[in-house]
């Protein structure tokens, strides 16, 4: 391998890239655009839960109960239902995510040993949202209970003599959330998004580069030059690597300055690990490109191999720990998985090499294998 030849290939690829304005725009503008758009748009938080109320009591107390939901900040009352037959349609049409059914004896039974039974029907189709709504519901009801116990009608003694004063809970739980104290989903999403976007862009940019030469017939020209296969693969990779590093730096800066995501680790470490990650992801694209000769097929394979896996199998959105074992093993083939741990670790936890060494090592391994495979499959083509 001669540096001069490597450099020549890299220069050729860079010139080609410079004259391909659309690829350049994609390479530089897309990560920024995506990060800004999605950083603002997406959130795990569930707010303004659409609530319908079927109030069969219509008393002062039942209205106060509903007001407590309004005041919680989580629920938006969108509809007052007139009868039980309207519950199903409201949920079916998706007008409401939760329906509160207040019984006719609500005010009568309030403060008696047999407390009123409110029914809450939740649209469970989106299980994640439904779980969060359940949590808000219980929190709000607990708050109502607490307020009634404090100022409202004091509830009388139940069985066992409880009640003369509402017992202080015998156990205090001191909760501390670390790394993301407010549980702000932007802080979780932005570092993850950096990893996912870079994975996609990297594989996307390189997946067509070899297949294109093959389809246009310029591969023959390349094959007739004295460059070796590793020189071609590495040379083609260098310009994209430079772009990728710039992209990562810009995305990180955006995350910190625009979205206010805390950056607690070492920026240098992030760049070093990004380097290995990018070589791996670019090598993967190169491998696809070397294996599949048509651009149509290469793009399909790159998509199957990167876009959805980067989103779905990296742990960005769906927790890897709850996946079945074969799938957990499969996630080890997704370099974004390692990089996600790295970005979240460096941004939020501020951990250093001692914690991220494993991830770094795996990314180096991945990069080496990707490059070796790309070079091997590339040789076959010249021979063919």
């Amino acid at each position: 391998m001669r540096p001069r030849r490597l450099w020549a290939i890299a220069r050729k690829e860079a010139i080609q890239l410079r004259r391909d304005s659309r690829s350049l725009i994609i390479a530089f503008a897309m990560p920024v655009l995506l990060l800004v758009l999605f950083g603002y748009a997406i959130t795990f938080d569930v707010r303004n839960v659409r609530t319908a109320v079927l109030d069969q009591d219509l008393s002062k107390q039942s209205r106060a109960f509903v007001d407590a939901f309004r005041a919680s900040g989580y629920f938006t009352v969108v509809d007052a239902l007139a009868g039980p037959d309207q519950v199903a349609p409201a949920l079916d049409a998706g007008r409401a995510q939760i329906v509160l059914v207040i019984p006719p004896d609500f005010s009568r039974r309030l403060g008696t040993p047999r407390p009123p039974r409110v029914q809450a029907v939740i649209d469970g189709s989106d299980a994640n949202t439904a779980t969060l709504i359940e949590g808000y519901l219980q929190g709000t009801v607990a708050e109502v209970t607490r307020r009634l116990a404090a100022g409202g009608p004091v509830h009388s003694a139940g069985d066992g003599g409880a009640g003369s004063n509402p017992a202080a809970p015998p156990l205090t739980v001191d909760v501390r959330v670390w790394f993301n104290e407010e549980l702000d989903s932007t802080n979780a999403i932005v570092p993850g998004l950096v990893a996912v976007i870079m994975m996609i862009i990297a594989a996307l940019l390189t997946s067509l580069t070899l297949a294109r030469e093959w389809e246009r017939g310029t591969m023959e020209q390349l094959a007739s030059t004295p460059v070796g296969r590793l020189e071609v693969v590495l040379g083609k990779l260098l310009p994209y690597l430079a772009i990728g590093l710039v992209d990562t730096a810009v995305s990180t800066a955006l995350g910190v300055f625009l979205f206010g995501v805390p950056f607690r680790g070492n920026p240098l470490l992030l760049m070093v690990l990004s380097f290995f990650f990018l070589v791996g992801a670019l090598g993967l694209g190169m491998f696809i490109s070397a294996t599949v000769r048509s651009q149509l097929l290469a793009s399909q394979v790159a998509l199957i191999a990167t876009l959805l896996p980067a989103f779905l199998l990296s742990g960005f959105m769906f927790d890897i720990a709850v996946m079945p074992l074969p799938l957990r093993l499969l996630t080890y083939l997704i370099p974004a998985r390692y990089f996600l741990v790295v970005t979240r670790g460096i941004f939020l936890k501020g951990v250093g090499v001692e914690v991220l060494a494993l991830q770094g090592g795996l990314m180096v391994l991945f990069a080496a294998i990707g490059l070796a495979l790309a070079a091997r499959n590339f040789k076959k083509e010249i021979a063919a």
Partner: protein, 369 residues
């Protein structure tokens, strides 16, 4: 009458496209087998259930009370104890390394404090993944509250709430997400392949041959779109079968309605593919442009993040994405079993988007030829 002749011309083009797909076994495999494999793989992946959260416990009291507390924690099924120790620094390290998501610290003297009515434990939560962290914290607090209630005097709630979840009683997130993956896969196959197939003809130069043939622009567009619509429908049938038989996603609606809605959904999907093909000179350009469409679709359509939680402006943008509407339809049919009486606004929206995108594609074809 020109209609029969037009139909015959379209028919010939459809036959040519299908022949091309058949003679390219690699492409046929990608089109038909890949979606099924993807559904199986991603069907297992798309779970937002929070269970078996890894937990680290530090028991510095080692009393019967602390053991009972930790047993209650373990028995819930929400947490899996991945490590235990008597030093708090170990819990810190576990959270740093990501080996544990929550850590429960029982201080020494816990049993005595509890007896005196002022027991205190510490719960440390790794907030990096805010969604998991929030839900896991809720579970932990509930378990601890139940433990406390079991020991203290019973406190009667002022209001008793009976909650029920409809459509998905067990709150299995897979039932919600697998239909979403179906919508995604159908879009992926139909849009991308259409755009690339047309551009490929342009690159090879065979598009000129088609343009000098008696085919009119609309016929050309239809002839190109119909084969991929067929592929899309076959894909949909295959992945739906996998979803129902393999993943046991409840299917409460009408299969016929789903097929009809899928056909409606294919109109904007193919229209997008064709439109991209008219603005791209090379397959690479077409591929990159498809990406610019796919990413917002993935993130803004409600596939992963609920649309209703987005800022207002993005909610409007989401309405311009065909998949937003199809997701409501496909999830509605699968889980709620609702019919056209409730789904017609979404269907109309899909049709409108389809007409606009398809019309734009035809217009651009005409101008170029």
């Amino acid at each position: 009458m020109r209609a029969p002749a037009a139909l015959r011309r379209i028919g010939e083009l459809v036959r040519k496209e299908l022949l091309q797909v058949r003679r390219n076994p690699a492409l046929a495999r990608v089109l038909l087998v890949a979606p099924m494999i993807q559904l199986v793989v991603f069907g297992y992946a798309v779970s937002t259930d929070v269970r078996d959260t890894s937990a680290f416990v530090v028991d510095r009291d080692l009393s019967a009370e602390s053991r009972a507390l930790l047993d209650a924690f373990t028995a819930s099924g929400h947490f899996r104890i991945d490590g235990r120790s008597q030093r708090e620094t170990d819990a810190v390290a576990a959270l740093d390394h990501g080996r544990a998501t929550v850590a429960l610290v029982v201080p020494s003297g816990f049993a005595a404090d509890l007896a005196a009515g002022r027991g205190r434990v510490q719960l440390l939560v790794d907030g990096t993944n805010s969604n998991t962290a929030g839900i896991a914290r809720g579970y932990a607090l509930r378990i601890l509250a139940r433990y406390a209630a079991g020991r203290g005097k019973p406190v009667l709630p002022a209001v008793e709430v009976r909650q029920r979840a409809w459509y998905n009683q067990n709150l299995a997130s897979r039932n919600y997400n697998v239909p979403g993956v179906i919508a995604m896969l159908v879009l992926l196959t139909s849009m991308l392949v259409t755009s690339l197939a047309v551009v490929r003809e342009r690159e090879i130069g065979t598009l000129e041959q088609l343009q000098v043939s008696p085919l009119r622009p609309i016929e050309l567009v239809l002839g190109k779109a119909i084969p991929f619509a067929l592929v899309g429908l076959v894909d949909l049938a295959l992945v739906t079968t996998v979803a129902i038989l393999w993943f046991r996603v409840p299917f409460n609606g009408s299969l016929t309605l789903l097929a009809v809605e899928a056909l409606v959904y294919l109109v904007p999907s193919l229209g997008l593919g064709l439109l991209i093909s008219t603005i791209s000179r090379t397959q690479q350009e077409a591929f990159l442009s498809s990406f610019l469409v796919l990413l917002p679709t993935l993130l803004l359509s409600g596939f992963m993040f609920p649309v209703s939680s987005m800022p207002r402006a993005f909610q409007w943008i989401a309405q311009l994405i065909p998949m937003t509407h199809f997701l409501v339809i496909v999830r509605g049919i699968f889980l709620k079993g609702i019919g056209l009486d409730l789904l017609w606004p979404r269907t109309l929206a899909l049709l409108a988007l389809g007409v606009v995108l398809f019309g734009a594609a035809v217009l651009r074809f005409r101008r170029r030829s």
